[in-house]
Structures are given as structure tokens and as C-alpha cells.
């Protein structure tokens, strides 16, 4: 019987396991389906990770290695090349591997840290042929940076998320011609620094309010794509067609938390985040099962994933070492201009002084105010100079605010100042 089983050995799983060990759990297991720890960081060879956490700019593998090194000084067990097939409310974990076959492991607590997956061509329904040469940006990144395959020579990128922007630069550095980055929204979903360093540095045009309307194949490979301008309802405008001769299309059109295991276990889900509903300590609706990182909600920075996952690991330790009593619950809901909150529920007696709340706003704001309300009463407020949907917001709710709500819902909203 394990004290804790962590599903996933990426940044979330690593931080959760380290933190649970530090808080006194002794028998901890990380299960990872790939052949090494580190998760997606292994293919993110660009720099910019760790500015908050380590006050320096690290590459993805360097950031992962800091946590792997910490883990090496603990007694945490690691199973790589092992797939979790099922978990259940009784804290059983069904795993399979080529080496050990099929086994059912048992744990006092579980941390879900499976991360997220990229949206694919199927998810956004691009018309046209179905040839080779259409990749998600992340799979192209793995081919290029880890496996050593160049995926194409003339590239069009659909979507301006950060992975797409990073791959525009990466492919260019390796000698490909990136013809265009095409974004259906009137603004980019990526960080400004990536627009500058990945597109502008290399004179790659960014077409906002445009989308790919046709992919044409020749001999089984992409031969060209058609791009149209779109109207404000994102419908292609006839007569605005542009053709690009390319052999490759990379998709950077969003990430979806990977929650098949969570759903199958009957854990309550949130349809705004596509992740589990979580309490203030990252516990799910099933006692003793926690979730953290991109499997809960997609983060902008790995630094925030690590911090959140350390809270989840510590909470798992606390659950195992001193089984908590039932507590009254205060719901947290999104109000005007806020698209979701994490956590969705807070138990006032489980927090010491403050509760972390993360959320995203729906629009771009300059001088603005975040308000925490119960009914019409403003209980706490925060000023911001700048907010955008692409940047996750973080506030600390003080305990007395949660106490004041007396179990009624707390609403988080945003408005121009």
C-alpha cells in the first residue's frame, strides 16, 4: 500500500511528489508513461522557464532537471514506460507495462498530474484533403527536438498559441521557410515576447482574423493551402483567398486537459476548465484524490504549475497523516468578465490565513479592478494595470472574507476602473 501514487511525471507530478515527501510521506510512487521523467519540458528546449521560481531563464530540460535532482535525494519510487489504465474511488490504480504486465496498485492518496493534449485537426474541422504533413505544433516539436526529424521545408502555421510561435522560430533556425502564421481571432493567443522573437525577428507574417479554408494534397503530401480572411463571426469571407505553396501545416490551436482517467473514476468535472472540480487544496470531489497542473486548467507558465502542484502534494500528505473531518463548503463562482475560477470550492476551516484563487478574464483590460463579492457586498478588491485572456490571474482571498460569506457563494468579477 502506497501513501501516495502520482499519475504523471511531468512538472506537476514531480513537484507534487517532492512536496509530499517533504511533508512526511514515505511511500510515494510516480507513474510515467514515457521513458523518462520531465514530461513536455523535455521537448521545450527554448528558454524562458523558471523566471518566477528560480529567478533565471532556464530551458525546459534544465527546469525539469532541477526537480528531478530534488527527487533523487528522496525515497520516491518512479515507474517509467508504465501506463495507468484506470483509477477508482477506492484509490486503486490499474497499471500496465511491458516489463511488469498488468497490476492493480493501492494507495492512501492519489495525485492526478496527467497534463493536457493538443487540439487536433479533427477538433477544429479544417476542410480539404487528408494528406501527410499536417502536424500539431507539439508533435512537430518532439520530432525535431528529441527524435531528430525535420518535419517539412515550407510551413504554414495555423493558430498563434505559444507552441506555434516557438515552432515558427525553431523551424526557421533549422532551415525551413515559414510562410505565414494564421490566427482566426483578431489578437494572438501567444505571449508578446514570442510574437517579437519568433515571428518579427524572422519576418514571418502574422495574419490575424484569417483561417485555413482548404488543404490540398499532391502525391499524398500537403501541396498548398488556401487562407481566407474571416468576419467578426469567424466565417470566411469569399474573395479574400490567398494561396500558400507549402508541404507542412502546423496546428497550434489550443490545449485540452487530459481527463479520461478522471471521468472514468466518476470524479466531478467542470465544463469551463475541462478539468476536475477542485477544493482550496486541489482535492477533487473524491476524498484523497487530488489534481494539479494542466490536467486541472491550462497554465501559462510552468512556474505556476510547480507552485500549484506543491500545494496538492502537501495536501495529499496532510490527508494521509491526519484524516480531516467534514467541513462546511463555500462555492466560488465566476462573475462578469471572468471565465472560470480554480478552486471552485473553498473549505474555510482548511485554510490558515489565505486561499489562492486563479482565473482568466474574458477581455483585454487596462486599468481595472477585480472584485470579490458575496451577494452585492464587495468583500475584497484588487487593482490591475493590465489583464488579458492569455494571462492567468491570481488573487489571495483572506480567511475572514470566506468566513463572512457563511457558506453563500463568493463571486469573482472584473471591470474597467
Amino acid at each position: 500500500m502506497y501513501d501516495l501514487i502520482v499519475v504523471g511525471g511531468g512538472p506537476a507530478g514531480l513537484a507534487a511528489a517532492n512536496s509530499a515527501w517533504e511533508k512526511g510521506l514515505k511511500k510515494i510512487l510516480i507513474i510515467e508513461r514515457d521513458k523518462e521523467l520531465g514530461g513536455i519540458l523535455n521537448q521545450c528546449i527554448h528558454n524562458g522557464f523558471g523566471l518566477h521560481r528560480f529567478k533565471e531563464e532556464l530551458t525546459g530540460p534544465e527546469y525539469a532537471s532541477r526537480f528531478i535532482k530534488m527527487l533523487e535525494s528522496t525515497g520516491v519510487e518512479v515507474m517509467t514506460d508504465t501506463m495507468v489504465l484506470e483509477i477508482n474511488k477506492e484509490h486503486q490504480v490499474h497499471v500496465i507495462s511491458a516489463k511488469e504486465g498488468y497490476r492493480v496498485l493501492e494507495a492512501k492518496s492519489i495525485v492526478l498530474a496527467m497534463g493536457c493534449r493538443e487540439r487536433t485537426r479533427g477538433a477544429i474541422a479544417i476542410p480539404g484533403d487528408r494528406p501527410a504533413g499536417v502536424f500539431t505544433a507539439g508533435s512537430a516539436q518532439r520530432y525535431l527536438n528529441m527524435e531528430g526529424y525535420m518535419v517539412g521545408k515550407r510551413v504554414v502555421i495555423l493558430g498563434s498559441g505559444d507552441i506555434g510561435l516557438i515552432m515558427a522560430r525553431r523551424m526557421t533556425l533549422e532551415g525551413a521557410k515559414v510562410l505565414a502564421c494564421v490566427e482566426v481571432m483578431p489578437y494572438s493567443g501567444g505571449l508578446m515576447r514570442n510574437i517579437v522573437q519568433c515571428l518579427q525577428d524572422w519576418n514571418i507574417p502574422l495574419y490575424l482574423s484569417h483561417t485555413i479554408t482548404d488543404i490540398v494534397a499532391k502525391d499524398g503530401r500537403v501541396s498548398h493551402v488556401t487562407v481566407n480572411k474571416v468576419d467578426e463571426r469567424r466565417n470566411p469571407i469569399p474573395g479574400t483567398e490567398m494561396e500558400f505553396d507549402c508541404d507542412t501545416v502546423l496546428l497550434s490551436v489550443g490545449l485540452i486537459p487530459e481527463n479520461e482517467l478522471t471521468r472514468a473514476a466518476g470524479i466531478e468535472m467542470d465544463n469551463r476548465t475541462n478539468g476536475a472540480v477542485v477544493y482550496e487544496n486541489m482535492e477533487t470531489s473524491v476524498p484523497g484524490i487530488f489534481a494539479c497542473g494542466n490536467v486541472v486548467h491550462v497554465h501559462d507558465l510552468v512556474d505556476y504549475v510547480s507552485a500549484e502542484s506543491e500545494r496538492a502534494g502537501a495536501a495529499a500528505a496532510s490527508y494521509v497523516l491526519n484524516t480531516p473531518a467534514e467541513s462546511p463548503v463555500t462555492p466560488v463562482v465566476n462573475g462578469d468578465n471572468v471565465s472560470y475560477t480554480v478552486p471552485m470550492k473553498i473549505r474555510a476551516d482548511r485554510i490558515e490565513k489565505m486561499a489562492d484563487v486563479f482565473f482568466r478574464v474574458r477581455n483585454v483590460f487596462k486599468e481595472s479592478v477585480i472584485e470579490v463579492k458575496c451577494g452585492d457586498e464587495v468583500l475584497q478588491s484588487f487593482k490591475r494595470d493590465h489583464m488579458a485572456p492569455g494571462e492567468m490571474e491570481h488573487i489571495l482571498l483572506v480567511k475572514k472574507v470566506i468566513d463572512a460569506a457563511q457558506g453563500r457563494a463568493i463571486t469573482i468579477s472584473a471591470r474597467e476602473a
Binding site: 521513458k35 523518462e36 523535455n42 528546449i45 527554448h46 528558454n47 531563464e57 530551458t59 530540460p61 534544465e62 532537471s65 525535431l144 527536438n145 528529441m146 527524435e147 531528430g148 533556425l173 533549422e174 505571449l191 508578446m192 515576447r193 510574437i195 517579437v196 522573437q197 525577428d201 494595470d385 493590465h386 488579458a388 494571462e391
Partner: protein, 114 residues
């Protein structure tokens, strides 16, 4: 006068840099923006991250980076030099695989233990 967007923080100030008056910066909200604007116009630099060949490791490529920012115009030249690098496992974070890649003292170092 050149215009650019500051990338020091998410605020994205629109800077104007006057090359004729000692790279004076306007439009910035903080001193860091002024410094960024001046450097970006007078001497833009970037950290290069890429991969090199690796024999006998878990993967056939090993990620590397320049240990400091190098002049932007030297990036493609340095990328060519990386094609000649051939490593053999084991390698460790911080190992120097190419010294003085830019002629100004920047080294290429390993960024993963493989």
C-alpha cells in the same frame, strides 16, 4: 525614430526610440522598458537554443544553448556551426560543446543530462 513593443513584462508598452539622440526612449512605463528599447535598437541580442547530434544516448539529439545572449545577426551563422558538433553520451547540463561560438566569448552548453 523606430517603434517597437516592449517585451520585458506583459503590459506591452509601445516604445519609440530615437537613434539620433542617443537612443532616447519614450512611451515606456518603467526604467526597464527604456533599457530594453535602447538595447533592442542599438545592439539586439538573443539566446540561441537548438540541438546537436548525440551518439549512444536516450535520444539522437541533445538540446543546447548559448550561455549568454549573442548578437542577433550572428544567429544563423552559429546554427551552421552546430551542424558540425557530434556528442557521445553521457553529457551533462553545463558541458561546453563549442567555445566562443560568436567570437565574443559566448559558449554553446548542454541543457540536458543524456
Amino acid at each position: 525614430m523606430k517603434e517597437l513593443v516592449c517585451i520585458v513584462c506583459p503590459r506591452g508598452c509601445r516604445l519609440k526610440v530615437d537613434e539620433e539622440s542617443g537612443f532616447a526612449v519614450t512611451g515606456n512605463s518603467c526604467p526597464r522598458g527604456a533599457e530594453y528599447g535602447k538595447n533592442e535598437i542599438s545592439h539586439p541580442t538573443r539566446v540561441i537554443t537548438s540541438t546537436v547530434r548525440l551518439q549512444g544516448g536516450l535520444y539522437p539529439r541533445c538540446p543546447v544553448k548559448t550561455d549568454r545572449a549573442v548578437a542577433k545577426e550572428k544567429m544563423l551563422d552559429i546554427m551552421k556551426k552546430l551542424n558540425a558538433v557530434d556528442l557521445t553520451s553521457p553529457v551533462h547540463i553545463g558541458d561546453i560543446v563549442l567555445e566562443n561560438c560568436d567570437g565574443e566569448g559566448a559558449n554553446i552548453i548542454v541543457t540536458k543530462n543524456l
